[in-house]
């Protein structure tokens, strides 16, 4: 059970002890929460004392009478508001006028209970304020996590952008100082590596643009009837040069056409990424098989390769941003580490799923399933 600290501010001892009695063994629980809330009570007889307590302790809920001997409740409220305490205030007062209620609400009071009140009324008000407080804190926590994720993303991104710049700069300095010889041929490897790093950086920037477009929401999505097979063929033909270089054969198994509602750009991004991975991480003279078919409920896109494979441990992180499997076999393969996370995000826009089956040194199979139902939405 978690404990909420309640501060009762009232100059009448009878009211203070009455409230204490009502709340002492009171519990608030919600169906969606595992634990109940209980209340620990603190009392203050004036506004001045209340402010002192608030300064020293963390108080969750303040029950505040307006008519107090020194400063008024409404002034205490103003101070609470000014000092930004993480606390919820409920006014309790017998001289409730509309004007006071309006001012109190303006100054951040959560609600208003007129005196005299029944135990049920007080408990009802406490229940509602507890829920309010809980949700408020929950929301705050969640937005902090979102900010943290954003920050992590940016710091990884800056690392990923700086590493190629550092590498290229390093090579250029070596060339500038002629550290490896006097002939340009002595530097061929460095030149090739520099070009390779630039290619990688360009693909990172392109992927970043894709990712921001997806994250910005559906505004730029262009959903219409498209031929999935046509999109796949486009992707395959743009990957052909890369396949020829590695002598990888691309086999296809799909019907003549398959018309569905989708954004053709997005379908191409999916196909491009899966097929280019299947070529990049393949062995020389390997094969890539692209199958597209429909069953009762889903569109299925399956891309299978005969490549280096991914072990179970690596599969777990495969769809995370900037996740690149790093080992001896992959160190010469360039990539942004964003491709599969983009693919997954797009597939989720269609309420679909992507799964992977893989065996190291045998091959990898990516299975995309997109339900038709989502197509009509």
């Amino acid at each position: 059970m978690s404990d909420l600290k309640v501060l009762i501010v009232d100059d009448e001892p009878g009211i203070r002890s009455g409230i204490s009695r009502i709340l002492r063994n009171y519990r608030v629980g919600y169906p969606f929460l595992e634990e109940d809330f209980g209340f620990t009570l603190t009392e203050a007889e004036t506004g001045e004392i209340a402010l002192e307590i608030l300064e020293k302790q963390e108080i969750d809920i303040v029950l505040l009478d307006n008519k107090l001997p020194g400063i008024e409740g409404i002034d205490v409220l103003e101070q609470i508001n000014k000092r930004n305490y993480d606390t919820a205030v409920m006014m309790i007062t017998s001289y409730a006028s509309l004007e006071l209620a309006v001012t109190a609400t303006k100054r951040g009071a959560y609600n208003f209970v007129p005196k005299p009140f029944t135990p049920e009324e007080l408990r009802g008000a406490i229940e509602s304020i507890t829920k309010h407080l809980f949700l408020k804190r929950m929301t705050k926590k969640m937005s902090e996590t979102a900010r943290q994720i954003r920050f992590q993303f940016l710091s990884v991104l800056s690392h990923e952008l700086k590493s190629p710049i550092n590498a290229i700069e390093g090579y250029l300095k070596i060339m500038q100082e002629k550290q490896a010889g006097t002939s340009i041929d002595d530097y061929m490897h460095m030149i090739n590596r520099s070009i390779e790093r630039i290619t990688g950086m360009r693909s990172l920037i392109m992927d970043m643009l894709d990712l921001t477009r997806i994250e910005n929401g559906t505004k730029s999505r262009n959903l219409k009837e498209v031929d999935i097979i046509e999109c796949a063929k486009m992707a395959i033909s743009s990957m052909e040069p890369m396949a020829i270089q590695k002598n990888v054969k691309i086999l296809t198994a799909f019907p003549e056409s398959l018309i569905l509602t989708a954004d053709s750009n997005e379908v191409e991004i999916i196909a491009n990424n899966l097929i280019s991975n299947a070529i990049k991480y393949n062995r020389d003279n390997g094969t890539v098989t692209v199958s597209i078919f429909t069953d009762k409920t889903d569109l299925n896109i399956i891309v299978e390769d005969t490549g280096i494979g991914i072990n179970a441990e690596e599969q777990e992180f495969l769809f995370q941003e900037f996740m690149r499997i790093k080992n001896k076999k992959t160190q010469n393969i360039s990539g942004s580490g964003l491709g599969l996370s983009i693919v997954k995000k797009i597939i989720e826009l269609y309420n679909g799923t992507i799964t992977v089956e893989s065996q190291p040194d045998v091959g990898t199979k990516f299975i995309v399933k997109i339900p038709f139902k989502a197509q009509t939405v």
Binding site: S155, S158, H159, K162, S163, N166, A167, E169, G170, Y171, I174, E177, Q179, A180, H189, M190, R193, R197, K326, N327, K328, Q331, N332
Partner: protein
């Protein structure tokens, strides 16, 4: 004449490795290289380097620290340099100057990546007591 001293270079960026390797060999050292913590641990099973130069962030953000610790455990007398781009990227500063820092960072020198070759040579010589 003594045989050439052996420097272990560990970094997940193969271009950084090839650049450092080139410089170290020009300085007259022999090198062995690894692209991960585990690969480096395999290497030092059979050969003891005279000095190790490690990248900080490899598989994990603190791979360099962990590897440094393990090298020191096996070969307490081998000086370790951790090369990092962390400061320029995050503003975090690590040092091994104070006693307190030496308690948890088991390295002899934390060096920014991209230092000038002559500076690198000077530091290596200093740590090898040449």
């Amino acid at each position: 004449m003594n045989s050439r001293k052996l420097i272990l270079i560990v970094d997940d960026d193969i271009d950084f490795i090839s650049q450092i390797k080139l410089y170290c060999e020009k300085f007259g050292y022999e090198t062995m290289t690894a692209t991960s913590e585990n690969e480096a641990l395999e290497l030092i099973k059979t050969r003891k380097p005279d000095l190790a130069m490690l990248d900080l962030m490899m598989e994990k953000d603190d791979s360099g620290f962990i590897l440094s610790y393990k090298i020191k455990q096996k070969y307490p007398d081998v000086p370790v340099i951790i090369a990092t781009a962390v400061t320029s990227e995050t503003g975090l500063i690590f040092g091994v100057e104070s006693h307190e820092e030496q308690q948890w960072i088991k390295a002899d020198l934390i060096m920014e990546k991209g230092v000038r070759p002559d500076q690198l040579q000077r530091e290596i010589k200093r740590l090898l007591k040449e």
